[in-house]
């Protein structure tokens, strides 16, 4: 299974380049798309999910020319957008039924059996006859997963699924996603580095409509080995340090002092100690490099 994206471009009417000659090759397994807000992640996801047309470029999933033959892709697609609403006054059962019909499950008996299972997996059995519009954020997200699974999708696209979930919910959600993705292609976008680190066997960093880097999380830190330095400083020193150093991230300590992490080829300043690079450092260095 392989998704290949070739020179995908999209410019909005207001001049914003949402996608700028995006090239990607994605195989089976979890693929994380990491990027800050407004990087073009959602545009990319929607374009792959056939609901936004690019100005230019190609997308292939196996033999399917996605842009030409969107119906064929949709047959094997599972999509969960960043936010979604539902029609009011419709229960989880009737909505799942509705999706099952739309996705081609024409037998009533099969639909019922399928929905029984889906509700069990997502633990929504108790809410079966409740209106989905009244669901909490986590429940709605699980409902989203339930509808996604209906057609046993080969390509799964999940846009910022963990936004707005509490830590426990987030963890469980990611677990399910991993299980789902064990024998299909799962693309999920996030701006949280942790999500990717835990789940993905492949990832890309995106900003300003461009793919900045496509790497495996496991070997991503190799490049930075020995180039990340850390120091605890006082608040009023920051401005001074920022002039000369490539600061990647800052975080407060309880005593109001600040941890700063910098990228440097060599130890360039007093008081810095070498630390092991992590995925976050990769993310920030990549963004920094490309914003110049």
């Amino acid at each position: 299974m392989k998704l290949s994206i070739n020179k995908l471009s999209k410019t909005y009417r207001n001049g914003v380049k949402a996608l700028d000659r995006v090239n990607l090759e994605i195989g089976t397994g979890m693929f994380g798309l990491l990027g800050p807000n407004g990087a073009g992640k959602s545009s990319l996801m929607r374009t792959i999910a056939t609901i936004q047309s690019p100005d230019d470029g190609e997308i292939f999933f196996n033999d399917i020319n996605v842009l030409e033959d969107n119906i064929s892709l949709r047959k094997i697609l599972g999509y969960l957008p960043q936010t979604f609403g539902v029609y009011p006054k419709m229960t989880a059962d009737s909505l799942l039924n509705y999706f099952a019909m739309l996705k081609g499950v024409s037998s009533k008996k099969e639909r019922k059996e399928l929905i029984d299972n889906l509700l069990e997996i997502t633990n929504l059995e108790d809410a079966r006859w409740k209106n989905v519009s009244g669901f909490s954020g986590g429940m709605k997200q699980r409902f989203g997963i339930a509808q996604l699974l209906i057609n046993n999708p080969k390509l799964i696209i999940v846009d910022e699924p963990t936004a707005g979930l509490d830590p426990a919910e987030r963890q469980r959600f990611l677990n399910v996603l991993r299980e789902v993705g064990s024998n299909s292609t799962v693309i999920f976008s996030t701006h949280i580095v942790e999500d990717v680190k835990e789940l993905c066997n492949n990832m890309a960093i995106m900003n300003n409509g461009r793919i900045l880097k496509q790497i495996k999380p496991t070997d991503s830190t190799k490049e930075l080995k020995g180039k990340i330095w850390m120091k605890i400083v006082e608040k009023d020193q920051i401005d001074e340090l920022n002039k000369n150093l490539n600061i990647l991230s800052t975080s407060f300590n309880p005593d109001n002092s600040i941890n700063i992490r910098i990228y440097s080829e060599s130890k360039s300043n007093e008081g810095f100690k070498k630390v092991d690079p992590n995925l976050e450092d990769v993310y920030f260095t990549t963004l920094k490099e490309n914003s110049k």
Binding site: R13, R46, A49, T50, I51, Q52, S53, I71, R74, K75, L77, Y79, P81, T83, F84, G85, Y87, P88, K89, Y98, F99, A100, M101, L102, K103, G104, V105, S106, S107, E113, L114, N117, L118, I121, T122, N123, E125, D126, A127, K130, N131, G134, F135, S136, G138, M139, R142, G144, Q147, L149, N151, N152, A168, E169, R172, F173, N175, V176, E179, V180
Partner: protein
Amino acid sequence: MLNNIFSHELSYWFKRPAFYIYVIIFFAIGLFSSGASAGLFDSVSMTVGSSRVVNSPYAIAMLFGGLSSLIIFLYPSIIGVGIYRDYKSEAHFILYSYPFTKLQYLFAKLLSGVFMVHLIILIIALGIGLGFILPGTNPDLLKSFELRPYFDVYIIYILPNLIFTGLLVFGVVTFSRNISAGFIFVLILLILQGFLVGFSEEAENRLFSALIDPFGDLALQYYTQYWTVAEQNELYIPIKGVFIYNRLIWLGVSAILFAAIYRSFSFSQNPISLSFKKKTINKIKTHNFLGIININLPKVNLDFKLSSQLKLLNKLSNIDFLYIVKSLPFVCIVLFGLLINILTLFEVGDILGTPTLPRTWRMLEAGETLTLSINICTFLYAGMLIHRSRIFKFNELIDTTPVKNWILFGAKFLAIIKMQILLLSLVLASGLIFQISQGFYDFELNLYIYELLFLSLIYFIIWAFLSFLVQTLIPNPYLGLFIMIVLLIVIPLTSLAGLEQSIYKYSQGPGYSYSDMNGYGSSVERYFIYKIYWTCLGIVFYILTLLFYYRGVVSSFRERFYLAKQRFDGLHRLTISLFTILFLSIGGYIYYENNILNIRKSSKEREVATVEWEKKYKKYEDYVQPRITSVNVNLDLFPEKRDFKASGIYLMVNKSDKAIDSLFLDHSSRISTFKFNKLNDLVLEDTIYHFDIYHFKDPILPGDTLQLTFTVKNKNNTILRNNSPVLYNGTFINNSVFPSIGYPGGELRDDKTREKYGLPPNNLKPFPSDTTALGNTYISRDSDWIDFEAIVSTSKDQIAISPGYLEREWVEEDRRYFHYKMDSKILNFYAFNSAKYLVKKDKWKNVDLEIYYHEGHDYNLDRMMKGMKYALEYCSTQFSPYQHRQLRIVEFPKILGSYAQSFPNTVPFSEGVGFIADVDDSRKGGNDYPFYITAHEVAHQWFAHQVIGADVLGATVMSESLSEYVGLKIIESVNGKNKMRKFLKKALDNYLTDRTFETKRENALMYNDGQGYIHYQKGSLVFYALSDYLGEKKLNKTISKYVNSVAFQEPPYTTTIELLSYLKEDTPDSLQYILEDMFETITLYDNKAVSASSSKLENGKYKVDFEFNVRKYRNDEKGKINFGDRKIDSISFQGSDMGKPSYSVYLEDYIDIGVFGIDQEEELELYLKKHKISAINNAVSIIVDKEPIEVGIDPYNKLIDTDSGDNRKKVKEINE
């Protein structure tokens, strides 16, 4: 802070394209409606000719007020949406933490909405003002510009309405957070008002309706309902009394509304649900995913076969259908539509207070009130279904499923059709329930189903096609709805701008009509041709909609256009071309048939043709012609093919003292031949106007005869055109299918239009004093009294009837022949009827009475028989003997009209006016109009067929007014005087209302120009009053003297002057003034009971003190008031509480004063006597025997009184 929010709102609106669309639409509507009224389209359409000033304050009030009430459909999305938008964008979380007060926030939101509406109102005013002065408008219809009328309407009408409706919608949308809810309230208000308008048709309900009409229309109407043309042209709208109270009431309600909104609104607002069900709290908490799990889903088949796709389409449409049916706007629109439908069921067919039997066609007719509801639901839900998933942000989930566009969209389309079927079946359900509730069990289910599911449904589907296209192209469903409503209103109106052919106007075309006798006749085929034509275009729209239908995120219209172009592949190309070709070919066929095979004239062309006709041939008007003295015709009717074929012989005599060398023959465009028995040349054959001139070699000398033999038959009927008046069942045609002699008239009537074409002013008909104009009756110009004989044939199962006595009846070659011959002289005025009749027979003295009726229509035959007998009895004893030995009533289908018409010894009588009346004989019941109309028509055998006026002004007094008088007298003899008051009041109200619509001039009764409201309503009131003043016997004796001197006379014919001279002779001097008031002038009373009190006397009797005012005034032909010809003729009175004196024509009048008591819940007349009145303000004391309840001046409304409601007063009891 108020400023900031306010200007923020404004800048929001100024950036919206919707706002500019509204502005353009309303500007155009204002511009064209005022322009059209001022004759802007005179060059392409019919000339607007009228004595009305189109920019009078009254006209501006109607136009400006009317157009601004259209905006209330926009209130939900302009005013209502102010706060709702903050919720929707979830800006309220942040906004409500800002430092402004509730009042500032509410005010700013409200004011900004109101401000935007004002801009549109301003645009309308601008459009109207400019429309009047556009180049091409007719300055004769206009007076000089004034600002005040606009300002008046704005202040007293538009602004208070805007405040009330705006607040209501604002409140509803804010609290329900649902624009549709606001829309529903607008509809409810409109329907409520519609109901009040119906309610106020009864005069006694008018004050109440005027006070509570939320829009104030009825309050304005309360004062202007009887305004004459002069008053409409000159007066400012009355800002007084009831109108002000109404405005205050609704401003008060608005204030309460605002207070309520202010009180209930808080910055932590939760929406108030409009749902009728109690909401249970919907907070559910379930556990999350249980750790790591294995996902083992059952294997299911994904099935994309065509058959299952079609099944899916149907299932999806059911889901959409259920959504519509369960949604609140739908429920409300439908409930209110049904309510109106049911109210209409009671109203349809109500004639003089008597309902028509609830036959199925009547149920279907009433069901047409649901048409608007169905259209609005179609427009609205087409938009909702298209945009629903985006509105609820559900689209990304649906749009990524592998379901094809044509299924998604097809389901929506099918859902709308299902909705339409549901609504149409409500017509069936309510019709059946109504029929059962009325105890009427003659159900015609097949008729219901045929009309609703075939004839009606296709009409709604055609609108659905356009709705979906518009709603798909327009991103906002409410804007789409608005555009569709505008299209629905404007498309039919384009005729005014000269676009007259239906093939150019979406969904337009000829309708269908049903009658029990003739079914749908030939109307259905024509109807379907046009509907198929529009369906073809509709299918093209459907495919276009599919091409532009989009899923997911599309950023610009250009992108959608690009997408559509991409999708425009072979199949789409093929179907679009196929249906475009079909559409064009059917259109071409209709165009060919109507414009090439036949000459189609636009109304403009017809107007020009009328001018040309007059210019060419009017000069022959006074050319002496021989007169027809005998008519002998053979008419063959072919009902199955709707054809006829006729031949005939006219025998003519030169009755003049001059030799006649030329004859003018006016005939129809049908296939005809003409042959005279004297040598002649056809010197002119006009194939456009069908007017021929024959020159005789030897002139026809005085006293000589001439014989014309003619044949005439119709061109073949086609699906689109009826070239013959013959029906499948129920043919009713008159002698106009045969040729006539001489110039027949038919000229433009409006003087201003005539002037434009260089024609001299039209003197209408000559005055009765013009003794040179009395040579013709007003019924025919080419004959006096004739001998008549006819052989009529028809299909074997039908009976054919014409005036005369049946000489012989036989069957030949499967056709039935009837030979009729009249044994006495009749007017040259006859008709032929043919249908499958049943016959009821009876006898009055030696006269054979017959009623030819449609099977099943036997409900009121006895009443009609009774009507014939009573009228024959009354007229023959009071006036003169009946001239025939036979009298027949012949039913004809209501599609030809709802009236009856009297021909010699034969009365064709529409099935719509009597045969199916549901008469209630109890005291509360309405009038027995089958009886009454029969009496009126029978009276015509005297007043028209014995006495016939010359073709001058006032001629109809001798036919219609006198027949109406006889009808009234006969019904009075059956019902008693009490029931008459209702009848007279109705006649008075109709007279006063109808004269306000006069566009030319209203003359006094004796000079009337044939207007129904004068010769029927006023005529009947006048003769009824006269019989009261002179006594019925005495009046009838006078009429009888007159009848006997003029009946069957040869020219010169009688006039109103002669009739009046008889009346004058027999009227005492003291009452001569009545004749002047009633016949010679337009005189109106304004009588009013001021106060009434009573005290019990020692002898047990009661003394009643009564103060009342009597005033009368005159109107000229435009309705301008005067108080007599000379200043000295008028009198005046100024009471202590009056700011201005009131004036009256000089009074020496005798007017009824009545005192009424009560006896077993029935009114008891204690006193009724004519008092001589010579002052405006009067007081009398009257002693009566029993306890008085009510006193009145002219209490029975015998006089023509502009306010008939204030003539009576309840008596106040005073204990001494």
